[in-house]
Symmetry: D2
């Protein structure tokens, strides 16, 4: 990366040549991964240190025109900022990303941000492929969360298939009790039809909440000729299980409707990726949407849309109206580089262990209180029944845990409101806990312990 | 802000009491503006220094749960990050903003980010009001640019007025040759009808490109009963002039259609704010959209939607599907605090002077080359004809300027494509330059000088 | 630390009271250790996080006058700086420490730096006492390394005892082959008499290089009435063993001469501290000098002088001519806070394990090459003979290791120059390696492995 | 600085070649000054921006072995640190500067710090030469203040001339009432003889406190054969005037004694530099000592020793016992780069204007209170008599100013203690104020105004 001329210029500054030579070896090694990244264009095997990450950001951001000391900037929008703090908290990318034409178009004033964005998309694609999705062709990092991104994927897919010209699109969605994906579709002007969740034994687990492919077909045919798309889901809190996406993909293919998968935090789960890979091969999947913070430990606010169809991703990118904040993109880049491939794989390993530890811990608790663990095999969360707590006391549990400074457990009191269970068929209330990627084992230990104290309080 | 107990604890550490007392006076003054901000809730009169801004960000971000050293975080989304760099480039706000329910809802895991967001909205509102819009009631900072924000404002307004239940909304838009606002409307599933721009003497200036209220009425009536909304515009490059928004507001009121103003970089221009204020009083304005970077010198990626109707803003906020990146919001907060009210007013003053200087400089150039300045009175930009350059040479001008490292000038070669002129009625090509807020005088000087060299080259 | 008024001011900013209450609990806990530090004035039990350390530095440095936004600074020296970078790389302390009168005097313009310095001295004292030196009364952090600090301690002790009025002081020093301590004494105008090292069985170990109390007495009496002081040493590379400081202390007491201990990196070794504690009780010790970087993992450039005599430390402080850079002091403070007492103790534990691992690894190597480990029981380093390498090849070993990117091993080729062995009595060359505090086990493993490769190369 | 290979590696990452080409032009210009610095080795004409300065520090510090990702560090001192904050507040230079042998020796573990130190010395030399001292040959940046540095210069000069072998050196010093320089000499074991200051008309000004060359000669001869050195002074508060260093230099040459000039803050004053230049040519000057913070706007704690004799500087460097903190050196480097030559010259210009403004303001005040300005022509400070304030009230003035938050004015109440006036011949008390480099004009204005209020209070 550094010219020989540079090392030569250090000679005769009081440091003997053999020392300079020795130093330059270590020096070059620090910058080597940066050069390799540009050349190899895939996630580095091992995580970078902070200095290397900052150097990359500095290099890229100093290719933007607002850093050029001699450029004359006379436009109405030139990356001018009122305080150096703004440069720092934007990672140096004051011009944002994209152009009015397209989110991923090269911005003439911001070559560096454009490179940064493309690098990020290439790197995250290389990681996702290696995790078990070789049949994915493109990845697009989106500057908003899963819900909005599902909407954006749908907007792009509708545009791509030129479906959305004359009337409002009608969209099937399997029931998950989360407002964001629903609102994401409504945001772009879609009309939703929800496929209700059912409780019982299913294609995936001995018990759990699932959706039924027959019911999907039924609802589809009731609205015949009007349904443009279906959204399936791999990720939700236990006892919800992943949708049977292979069957849905076949169904979508057969009926020629758009199929988008809400894979919010599914990249951390190899089993889900296997399912997706098979579904791509077996049927139709237009786009898969995943959160950056839930999968890749970034601050909230980004998503990655992947697809086996590069042109469709291009159309999604084109649907975005103007430039966007570079922050969610640069945050993903930083996180990926800091972990490296091996760092990510070891976190996945660790998540699996934590998930087992969580179930074991909750099982012990369940035995003590004569409750049960719902055997739904959810890869991230675990649900325990709350049959033996008086209905009027269940609501208190949440407040008690909050006061014990535990965040994250969800108490679903079906007596009051079944929302959250994704069905109307649950027979008793329950509590859900997560062992998502990045959680510390001691937090699981402590959370279960405090849950125990909380239950004792309401008994 | 600091307890007496704190100052007492410094006693007997080798520093005499009278020195401590003296020091504590200066010390308290550093934190005073922070306390005042929380209490007075308006833009500070004078800009803060970097330390004070960072302290505020630190205070706020340390009210989020991911900073609590003893909290147990067991959810699937807990603001966990893989690298400290991520904390820094997000301003400390790893949880983002909003909830699945609403963009401005208080997030239980992120009290600090919620406060930060509300503070920002209140502060920017206080500034906008004081600039000449006292009849604005609410401001909402949006984590994307003007085009997407126009879409979001439209989505919220349609929801608010329950217009969008059964069919695709049809939206009038006065012609500005900028893709983003158009795509913003298409994004949310709207159908556009463009009111074409006309060239000539108009309600605003001796010459320029404008839209005609009569033509609006005409097109409206041609599509009777189907038009839901109109989007007018105050800001575009010369020779486009601001729309006659007062008449449009009256028209919208009379016909009960939504009226959204694209005020992209209009906050820097008191005359436009006066126009908007009068329009609010005279007719109907649902929402006004402005860019944060173009008005407030932030990095690209944010917008502020204001409205005289607080409930409508609430509905816009509710239309957003899930949490969002906090970055565009915290960037606006930082910028406002670093400038303060007086700092912003002085930049407005300076912009006006620069605009005059730009026109004077271009006029001189025009005289030299026998060209003319279009007298359209655009508050930010200035257009000079390129009548006397051979049509086939005009295209080269842009490339030459690019090589001379000038960004920003727009060459509109109507011989090739009238796009950019907002009309089909221009008779000759022209070049536009800007003197937007934040530009340096020497850049204007240099840009005009290089334009001169470029023109000489193609003559 | 924070007024109730502050928390009250957050009310009605869109975040419900119960969330604010919960947040404020975590918030207060972040600042609690800072308040406790001021109140309890000892090293915290557990290390602080980076944010807490920075907050403390910010609090302290903003008590200096150069941060007071309304002070009028008209002196010739007012902590003015030309760049914000300077503020950052000085930890915020632009006024340095001390006054012309005394290094630890409160500086009226820099109450914060004065507090910082006093806190550091108190904290490091509390740690050193708890490590096994309860009979130490004062600690003084000095802005230069061990050699200069030995000189400064001597200067202060001479001043304190008013010995240095009319003639140059003559100083005994037990042989350690390190230039810095010798130069430290010469710097202040002292004349050195070196007590030569001897090789063999000694008061401390089966074999090793030591100094002989009888020889000290002999040399003292040869120079009778002219010797003012003696410098003993606890720390040097194997096979040098610690001096018999208990006997030296008794000797110094009996003969009324100053006794300063060079304890360069001895704070990491409890056994040495026990020795020092006993020596203080049994005889005379004026001052003990230790490096901050070698003991406390700071950047190079500081030392801590401790003494059972507070007045003597005061005199040392007074001997410094003017203000000094605050950097070495603030660096020590940061390091101590980041480790906490428990963090430091665990590093000591780890060092001991590494030292054992180093000897085991070298022993294996020695067996392979028919060499021997010198059984001198040095607490940090370990020496292996190089009997079976041809004398003319030994010099090459160093160069080979350097090229293998190993720093730290010392090759003492007594055939060429006995300097480094602290004696003229060694019979064969040897190599020394260290397992000092902070080293990583894998570095020991790698270093021994590369040494093996290097030896093979020269065989 | 950057290989073509690097720019090539950016191709085909979604950004067109012509944009990359354009960007690379600006990019290269950012790094150009760094390369030029290494090649030209003199102070840059124009100040660098913060990014460039940080890049240089990063480049240099990453040539140190503690940054090499693959080095094996097994020594007892390897630049290991306990917290990343330490790296930041040391500018990245954890190894300090120097070796046990010499302060400026290249440290094998720290090639970067060694380069940094040499660069700093070369750059500051280039600046000092260009300010008016072409006959200076070497500059050495010292990690402590003026007083200690005068001692160090003396120690080195004594070693160089081999004067200090057998007896304590006796040193003449012209009276300045500042403890540090005196203690600096005592620190290295010197015995001082003070040449008393006299008041009246002198070689430099109409009135003022000066020293008399005849008196120097007299005191020298009284101590004949025992005086080794003389320390003269160019800088002290009015009414002290610079010593007649040309005559002293001639005297030192004739009598073959060391001559060191205390030029504490004299680099900002071209007239003083002219005086020094002439003195070097006319007589003997061994070393000249100046403060980094008082001349170059760094944090307190560094000095620069210059000399026409390179070998002597080398000996000074050798007298330092071991490695030192790199902080004062890196701070000087940062400050010089941030100002550049032109930035420094303009600050000198500004200082001169401020000095005039200070005298004019004080003269007005003097007229109002019937006091007088002492016409001593001091280039930095200005003294006004306090004849008409009751002796018992004068002491109060200081306290009042302190409470008015003014730092810097010195009240010399000769009725109580003549210390500070450098003589016993002053007839009345006075107040001194400074207009040193870096002061803001409004501070002078405010300080004089507050002094006026203070005087009124005690009248």
């Amino acid at each position: 990366m550094w010219k020989k001329e540079f090392f030569d210029s250090l000679e005769n500054l009081g440091v003997p040549s053999h020392m300079l030579k020795r130093s330059s070896i270590g020096f070059k090694e620090i910058w080597k991964p940066i050069m390799e990244l540009f050349q190899q264009r895939k996630i580095p095997e091992h995580g970078w240190n902070d200095f290397q990450i900052r150097q990359l950001l500095d290099i890229l951001s100093h290719l933007d025109s607002d850093k050029d000391p001699r450029s004359i900037r006379i436009g109405e929008r030139e990356g001018r900022i009122s305080s150096v703090i703004l440069n720092e908290i934007s990672g140096g990318f004051c011009h944002g990303i994209g152009r009015s034409g397209e989110l991923t178009a090269a911005q003439p004033k911001a070559a560096g941000a454009s490179l940064m964005q493309n690098l990020t998309n290439i790197i995250v694609l290389s990681l996702i492929k290696s995790l078990g999705l070789p049949n994915i062709k493109t990845a697009l990092t989106i500057p908003f969360g899963t819900g909005m991104s599902i909407g954006m994927a749908m907007r792009g897919a509708l545009n791509y298939h030129k479906i959305d010209i004359h009337e409002k699109p009608m969209v099937l969605m399997t029931q998950i009790d989360h407002k964001s994906p629903r609102k994401g579709i409504e945001y772009i002007g879609g009309i939703l039809k929800i496929i209700p969740g059912r409780y019982g034994k299913n294609y995936y687990s001995n018990e759990g909440v699932f959706t039924n492919i027959e019911e999907i077909k039924e609802i589809y045919h009731l609205n015949s000729n009007k349904i443009s798309a279906i959204i399936s889901s791999t990720c939700f809190f236990a006892p919800r299980v992943p949708d049977n996406i292979k069957e849905i993909a076949k169904f979508a293919k057969k009926n020629e409707i758009i199929h988008i998968i809400n894979n919010a935090y599914g990249l951390q789960t190899p089993a889900l990726l296997k399912l997706i890979r098979q579904s791509i091969d077996a049927g139709r999947i237009d786009a898969i949407v995943q959160s950056t913070d839930k999968n890749f430990l970034t601050p909230v606010g980004g998503a990655v849309i992947t697809s086996p169809n590069t042109d469709l991703i291009k159309e999604i990118s084109k649907s975005y109206a103007g430039r966007a904040s570079a922050s969610p993109v640069v945050q993903l880049l930083v996180s990926l580089l800091s972990m490296g491939k091996q760092g990510y794989l070891s976190r996945i390993e660790f998540q699996k262990e934590n998930r087992t530890f969580l179930e074991d811990s909750l099982l012990e608790l369940a035995n003590e209180f004569n409750e049960q663990i719902i055997e739904c095999n959810n890869p991230v969360s675990c649900a325990m029944s709350l049959k033996n707590i008086k209905p009027e006391k269940i609501q208190d549990l949440g407040g008690i845990l909050y006061n014990l400074r535990v965040t994250g457990p969800r108490i679903i009191n079906i007596h009051k409101d079944p929302f959250g269970s994704c069905t109307t068929e649950m027979k008793w209330p329950y509590v859900v806990m997560n062992a998502a990627i990045g959680v510390e084992k001691k937090h699981i230990f402590e959370a279960v312990d405090r849950l125990k104290r909380a239950i004792k309080q309401v008994k």
